[in-house]
């Protein structure tokens, strides 16, 4: 069976290896360059927090590469389309399942070996790309303090492995049901995109209950710190009433501060009158916890889809 997988899929693996090599050729030299430029830039100002403008000069010429980094978020979908969707669907469309299912190998074993190889390949490629991107983004993570934002959280760490495995499992499962390549491709792309969006925007902010920080408005060193993820923010007046920013009207403010409205000292004035800012956020040190939770979710979805594929193939009736 391993030989069959190798013969059938070596071209795909070759292309994927080529793509990965190309990415490395671009990211390794520029990453080395970026890292040395960064360490030179922060030498003067101690810690990254104190020199906020260090990124402006440093990243000015890296716009295209930032786009490329962002694009690696799409790569798992490509695995789903090229490795996952055709795995069962292309065989059934070409009728070659009649050939392979009448050799001395059970359908279960046939699918198990093929699926295992494809999922392993997805995990390896996903991990390799993520390693490159995570390493390359070291200075960006340090300066921008935005590891939770889209394009950062979903291209670094563990989650790209989860996405890649999920995408391939999705392709296999959908292909086994659709039995035609084109519908399988469309459904794989559609479902993958929908799941990514749903989890990015709906689920991810709530993996753990957010922390809350309350501090006087206008204070200089306000919590939270580091690469945190703001979920929600509101304003409390002196007696503790919560205002959404939209519901604030001039009359809501203390009389003493109204004349300052729109100017810089306004916030400090409110602060001195007992007004506070309330921030709900995911703290920076939850980054890896969130990565692990999200990866586990995608792996669980992948497991369900693989199961679906097995049921569909076992039940297939020609």
């Amino acid at each position: 069976m391993n030989y069959l997988v190798w013969r059938q899929h070596r071209n795909q693996l070759g292309f994927a290896a080529l793509g990965l090599a190309l990415l490395a050729v671009i990211l390794v030299p520029t990453g080395v360059h970026l890292a040395s430029a960064y360490s030179a830039a922060i030498k003067g100002c101690g810690s990254p927090g104190t020199c906020t403008d260090v990124g402006t000069g440093l990243f000015a010429n890296y716009g295209l590469l930032f786009d490329l980094i962002g694009l690696t978020a799409v790569v798992p979908a490509l695995f789903g389309l090229f490795w996952g969707a055709p795995l069962v669907a292309a065989e059934i469309e070409a009728g070659t399942q009649l050939l392979v299912w009448t050799q001395t190998v059970t359908r279960r074993r046939w699918l198990a070996v093929k699926t295992a190889w494809m999922l392993a390949a997805a995990a390896v490629w996903g991990a390799a790309i993520s390693l490159l991107v995570t390493w390359w983004s070291g200075p960006v993570n340090a300066v921008d303090q935005s590891r939770f934002s889209l394009g950062h959280f979903d291209t670094q760490g563990l989650v790209p492995v989860g996405y890649a495995v999920f995408a391939v499992a999705l392709g296999i499962g959908v292909g086994a049901i659709a039995r035609r390549v084109l519908p399988a491709l469309a459904m794989t792309l559609g479902v993958f995109t929908a799941v990514r969006f749903a989890i990015d925007y709906v689920l991810r902010p709530h993996y753990l209950a957010p922390r809350t920080a309350v501090f006087p408005l206008g204070s200089q060193s306000a919590p939270p710190s580091g690469s945190y993820w703001p979920i929600n923010s509101s304003i409390l007046d002196a007696s503790g009433n919560v205002f959404d920013k939209v519901h604030l009207v001039a009359a809501s403010f203390p009389a003493a501060c109204r004349s300052l409205l729109g100017s810089a000292p306004f916030d400090r004035c409110l602060g001195s009158h007992g007004w506070k800012a309330l921030v709900e956020f995911q703290p920076a040190n939850r980054f890896w916890t969130f990565q692990a939770i999200e990866t586990a979710i995608y792996l669980a979805l992948a497991a369900v889809l693989v199961l679906v594929a097995f049921v569909a193939v076992e039940r297939h009736d020609a």
């Binding site: 009728g95 399942q97 050939l99 059970t106």
Partner: protein, 305 residues
């Protein structure tokens, strides 16, 4: 050949086999027995359920009702069954981008008995390029690759769905010759579906005829030929059929009635001519049952028996 199948072990047995897909019934109440060591022709009009029957026997399709027994097992996902049964599907599905050599090498790794040298030798003999992607080969060459793979598996039961369709007459004769040779070595039973009755007759000694999704005939070819007669009686009445004679098909003109009958040694009225009849005519007679009169082929044949 004794003609009786009960004395021999059956390679294939189906009782009341029915297969329906959603609303259509592809095969209805099919009961057949094919003894071991035979080359059995599976004939019938398009849509009569030949492919469905073969796929049920190969374990690719699950019967909706009835019992199937292949080499003493119900078809399923076990190694013994899979190793013993070889199936060549219609249109010869192969992995287009892989070469014939690749296919042979894959088969060698997926099957316990595999005749790599035999398969390569066969393709070399037919001058089929083993190093080209099979997608670039002609239909006939692909069919030969498929047949070589099916034989290389060294099966006990070989199921072939329309294998002759893509072959030229010379290749057909060669292939059927190879088949007969393999069967004569013993331990192999072949079920081969085709419309080419005359060519099948050269090698097959057993026949299953499906029509209208049912089994019409399932017997030794010699017995089939021996038990059928073409009877021509003058006049358009034609209802003077002796007891125990089954009229398979009949055609009436004003002058005479022509009937294909299945009978033992029944005697017809003296004014009737009784001819022996060839296998193809018998098969066509069954296949055109219930067809409009002008589509029945019976009247077209003289009594060349």
């Amino acid at each position: 050949m004794t003609g009786g199948s009960s004395a021999q072990t059956a390679a294939v047995e189906a009782v009341g086999l029915t297969k329906s897909f959603k609303s259509t019934v592809a095969l209805r109440d099919c009961t057949i027995t094919v003894p071991e060591g035979r080359i059995c022709a599976l004939v019938g009009p398009n849509g009569s359920g030949k492919t469905t029957l073969l796929r049920c026997l190969a374990g690719l399709a699950r019967p909706s009702a009835g019992v199937v027994n292949v080499l003493g097992h119900a078809p399923g996902q076990d190694h013994e069954f899979l190793a013993n049964v070889s199936f060549l599907a219609q249109d010869v599905p192969l992995w287009k981008r892989l070469t014939a050599k690749d296919h042979i090498a894959i088969g060698a790794r997926l099957n316990p008995r595999w005749d790599t040298t035999g398969a390569r030798h066969r393709l070399a003999q037919l001058e089929i390029p083993a190093d080209k992607p099979v997608g670039t080969l002609s239909g006939g060459q692909r069919a030969q690759v498929g047949l070589a793979l099916a034989l290389a598996k060294k099966p006990k039961l070989l199921l072939l769905d329309e294998p002759l369709a893509a072959l030229d007459p010379l290749a057909r004769r060669h292939f059927l010759g190879v088949l007969a040779e393999d069967v004569s070595e013993g331990g192999l039973t072949v079920l081969i579906s085709s419309h080419l009755i005359t060519e099948l007759h050269r090698v097959s000694d057993y026949l299953v005829l499906l029509a209208a999704s049912r089994t019409q005939l399932c017997a030794d070819v010699d017995d089939i030929i021996g038990s059928h007669r073409l009877v021509k009686c003058p006049g358009g009445g034609g209802e003077r059929v002796p007891a125990g004679v089954k009229v398979v098909n009949s055609f009436r003109s004003a002058r005479e009635t022509t009937m294909l009958v299945r009978a033992g040694a029944a005697s017809f009225e003296p004014e009737c001519e009784v001819h022996s009849v060839g296998l193809e005519e018998i098969v066509l007679g069954y296949m055109s049952q219930g067809a409009p009169a002008d589509l029945r082929l019976l009247h077209a044949q003289g009594g060349e028996g």
